[in-house]
Symmetry: C2
Amino acid sequence: MVPPHCNLRGEMPAMTEQQPKYRVPFVERTGMRTLAAEGGRAKLLMPLAGNENHVGVLYMGAYTVLAEAVAATPGITLCDPDRHFPIIKDLYVDFKRPATSDVTADYALSDEQLAALGADLERKGSAGYVAEFPILDTDGTEVCGARVTVKLLSKNWPPTDGNRAA
Amino acid sequence: MVPPHCNLRGEMPAMTEQQPKYRVPFVERTGMRTLAAEGGRAKLLMPLAGNENHVGVLYMGAYTVLAEAVAATPGITLCDPDRHFPIIKDLYVDFKRPATSDVTADYALSDEQLAALGADLERKGSAGYVAEFPILDTDGTEVCGARVTVKLLSKNWPPTDGNRAA
């Protein structure tokens, strides 16, 4: 079993009632903000200010922080923090243009995807999806493509009560 | 022409005489340290302290910062800062195990690779390589695989003096 690499930031207003707070200082230092997080959707913003590289455009690492949070947040909505945890399996970022503004990304799992993932998690103890989406500057130009493999895992799997389906 | 995304950190003791200082606050906040940087080789260390995720293992973003710097630093040795600049084209990290210690990575371009890249840079105005290497914990266990595409580009290419080779 792979313990969590995972890594989501604390501020997810739409989820704080049911979801655990994932506080990661590395992420908080970036100033990333949640624009929308409800149901299976997440839209987040990474500010340019404080995250510039040596020539004043957005630094590579800021893209990876944004990509991961946008990819994993929709799956987190399926997790019961007492029973499940998310991990990132891999992450790919493909730079298209330099960003001279804040950037955003938006990713959602459909109701059908959420249902299938939830069923996998109960039946097999694990579920996974590949989130692929663009990262956009404030003009709507794609500055980076992101692809992130997210896994949701059950703690203490297989269950020891003998009732697990084969 | 793609302006620089690039993103290397300031502290490269072996290069400060010839190389520009690439200061990126995002990188400096991680506390990443250079263990070796001479010729076409770079070995860097990413501390766990300050870069933990919410369960105390190394956060994903810290891997990407390390991977990029280790990949790009050997190529930077070919750059004349008045004439060339490095960019990162893409970056992939594949998580194998959680890291509960500092991590290091080590990458080198051979003399033959450096010569070929330098020749490309002069002849075509650009050169590129794919750096692939493991990221290791202090026990020497591979905790992550990294693959980074680095490009070296000439400023103001093609030259306007009419003497460029076809």
